[in-house]
């Protein structure tokens, strides 16, 4: 009998490390977008090293994502005995969003997995051109509803840095507050999704309930469960006065207690840990090489976080814990996220204690009229970058690189040689959203 044989050939070369290092300042810089066609990573130096108004490429022109279906990772061809490729999606079992995965296998092992995006493109990048900033923001917060606070914060800070002017401290603190709440929601959501993939039914129900409690809290403070309008000038009224802040604090203490009990139970569950341990490993070298971001990067041993690297208020004034572990597998990613729940709870507590009160803190915000700016924030799944040009008070161009886009390549690589049954644990451990991938 002939032995099965196969050969994996990566298409275009990986982004060159030499070039990456040449661009990288010592404090670390990251690939903004892997331009696979040229095999070149377009890099953005950390904002500390560069003045905010200095323009630099985010997408190298032709690299902006096309509308139709397109690959989100390295193009790879695999050939050999019994090798076949099957499409999974765009409407796929157990993946609640629309996106596609081309899975190449010879029967059991995944030889290559190619995530495909572009099914959900609402053409937002083009549609917002010509709109006033606050109208464009209505679409920006709906790029990915579960990451709305991060997207709006990055978009506004890009627009605001287009022209030198002060943003009221209270506004910046409110953005931080909303982002930390939404981070906690998303980390709970990721835990629930992994628990579901592992058929941990009681754990799933309990985690799902905790996530719902965070949504309710967001609804109570900001009038909207997904924070739409929460950070915009004409959004629903906010309830962040001292009495409400105290209520929130009590609620957070309760949620924190429930969370600790739950996470302990998960950690004691052998079946749960067995399924995520060594699943979809991403080495430190791979993570850096491919420009992974957020909990994915921190779970591969790189302590990098925009809240510390580009500290804007309120983070410049608060203690930000930076959990990172070396494992690189799904367990490591989940561990980092759960540590971050604690870190975010601590941040919220600090903010509640030290909420800015002076009149100067809430001075009115002058409108942005002209210029180009970069905005950057640590979204729940990682570094999010916006590049916005404003002309006569209207958006003239908008580009963004989402953490999902940055992390698809390492997911695809981590799945090589895995068994297909690992697919769901692996996928959910990254916290992807096709919504922000496509825009």
């Amino acid at each position: 009998m002939t032995r099965p044989s196969w050969r994996v050939e990566s298409g275009p070369p990986r982004p060159s490390t030499e070039r990456a290092l040449a661009y990288a300042p010592e404090d670390g810089s990251f690939a903004l977008y892997n331009d696979y066609a040229d095999g070149v990573a377009v890099l953005i130096p950390s904002l500390r090293a560069v003045s905010v108004t200095e323009p630099f490429p985010i997408w190298s022109g032709a690299s902006a994502p096309p509308d139709g279906p397109h690959p989100l990772g390295p193009r790879t061809s695999v050939s050999g005995y019994g090798v076949f490729t099957f499409p999974y999606g765009p409407i796929s079992l157990g993946v609640p969003e629309s996106g596609k995965f081309d899975v190449t296998t010879y029967g059991e092992r995944v030889l290559n997995l190619a995530p495909m995006g572009g099914f959900k493109s609402r053409r937002i990048r083009r549609a917002v051109v010509g709109l006033p900033i606050e109208d464009a923001a209505l679409q920006v917060e709906r790029i990915a509803g579960n990451f709305s606070a991060a997207h709006v914060a990055a978009f506004l800070s890009a627009a605001e840095s287009a022209e030198p002017h002060e943003v009221p401290t209270v506004e910046l603190w409110t953005r931080g507050f909303a982002q930390e709440l939404q981070r906690i929601y998303n980390h709970f959501h990721v835990l629930a999704r992994v628990a579901e993939a592992a058929s941990q039914n009681v754990g799933l129900a309990q985690t799902h309930a905790l996530a719902e409690e965070v949504l309710r809290l967001e609804g109570r403070i900001f009038g909207h469960r997904w924070l739409f309008g929460a950070l915009l000038p004409h959004g629903p009224p906010r309830r962040l006065d001292p009495a409400h802040r105290k209520e929130v604090s009590t609620e957070l203490v309760r949620i924190s207690g429930e969370f600790e009990r739950l996470w302990t139970l998960f950690l004691e569950s052998r079946t749960f840990i067995d399924r995520i341990q060594s699943t979809c490993p991403v080495s430190r070298a791979e993570a850096v090489h491919w420009g992974a971001v957020g909990p994915t990067l921190r779970a591969s041993g790189v302590p990098w976080d925009d809240r510390l690297r580009v500290p804007v208020p309120p983070y410049d004034d608060l203690f930000v814990a930076l959990p990172h572990v070396a494992g690189g597998d799904a367990l490591a990613r989940l561990t980092v996220r759960m540590e971050e729940v604690r870190a975010s709870l601590l941040l919220l507590e600090q903010m509640i204690d030290r909420w800015p009160t002076s009149a100067a803190a809430s001075a009115p915000n002058p409108p942005v009229v002209e210029g180009r700016g970069i905005g950057r924030t640590e979204a729940p799944s990682g570094d999010l970058v916006y590049d916005v040009t404003v002309r006569s008070g209207r958006v003239a161009s908008l580009e963004f690189r989402s953490p999902s886009v940055a992390n698809w390549p390492v997911f695809a690589l981590g799945m090589r040689n895995a068994v297909f049954t690992d697919f769901h644990f692996a996928l959910e451990s990254f916290g992807f959203a096709f919504a922000e991938t496509d825009g």
């Binding site: 509308d67 279906p69 765009p90 409407i91 079992l93 609640p96 969003e97 629309s98 572009g118 099914f119 959900k120 493109s121 609402r122 053409r123 937002i124 083009r126 549609a127 109208d135 209505l138 679409q139 709906r142 790029i143 990915a144 509803g145 579960n146 709305s148 959501h189 009681v202 754990g203 129900a205 309990q206 799902h208 309930a209 996530a211 719902e212 949504l215 309710r216 967001e218 609804g219 109570r220 009038g223 909207h224 469960r225 997904w226 739409f228 309008g229 915009l232 004409h234 959004g235 629903p236 009224p237 429930e258 009990r261 739950l262 302990t264 139970l265 004691e268 959203a433 096709f434 919504a435």
Partner: protein
Amino acid sequence: MPSWIEQSIARGILTTRYPHAPASDAEVPLTGRAPGPKDPGTTPRSAIDSCPVGAIAATTVDQGKCIRCARCLARGFAFAGSVESVARARAELKTGPGAVPTAARPVPLAEFGRSLHVFLVDVGSCNACNLEVLGIANPFYDSQRLGIFFTNSPRHADVLLVVGVPTPEMREPVLRAYDAIPAPKAVVAVGACPISGGAFARNPGLVGPLDGILPVDVYVAGCPPTPVAILDAIRAVAGRARPAEEA
């Protein structure tokens, strides 16, 4: 050592009494209710102009267009309307004195007494609608107690729930999913996106409202609709009563 069982008992019963009692304030945030003029007879001109999606007209508010952005709040409007905003015809989503009553349409799945199997398809959403739909299964809403079950295959489904604004790339897949569902079947458009395009209504290159490509039986407004509104919409497919009608 604590166990999962002890943990569940310690948590107690979280489940809402909805639909047997009206939804509570905890379940419905400010923007979870339909907007309308504070003084029912008068719609200020400034409110009409403030609406980014053109939902407000002189005597009506089109809840199917509203993205709950709250801009009209400073202009004589309030979120004081229905929690459900569920309709069996597109025109019924218009509220206010100018709304034209529509002829009653038959209940799509009246014969489905006890259980409904639901298949979710995303045709271009922001993910918030997907998450609210999945949220109805959490212990707070426990959709199973109402006989609502999610299925992973259109062949086992009775109801197609559609979230998002139809993109050209998802047109074919959603039509195929619809065809794969055995008759009798019903389609529910969840949120402003599939109903009117919502925040993306004027974006270039999209397909347009869902009812242009599929027969929609039930519409549920909101951006996103709250889980209680989604429960109500799925129940409306089988003609089940609302809390107000039960009382």
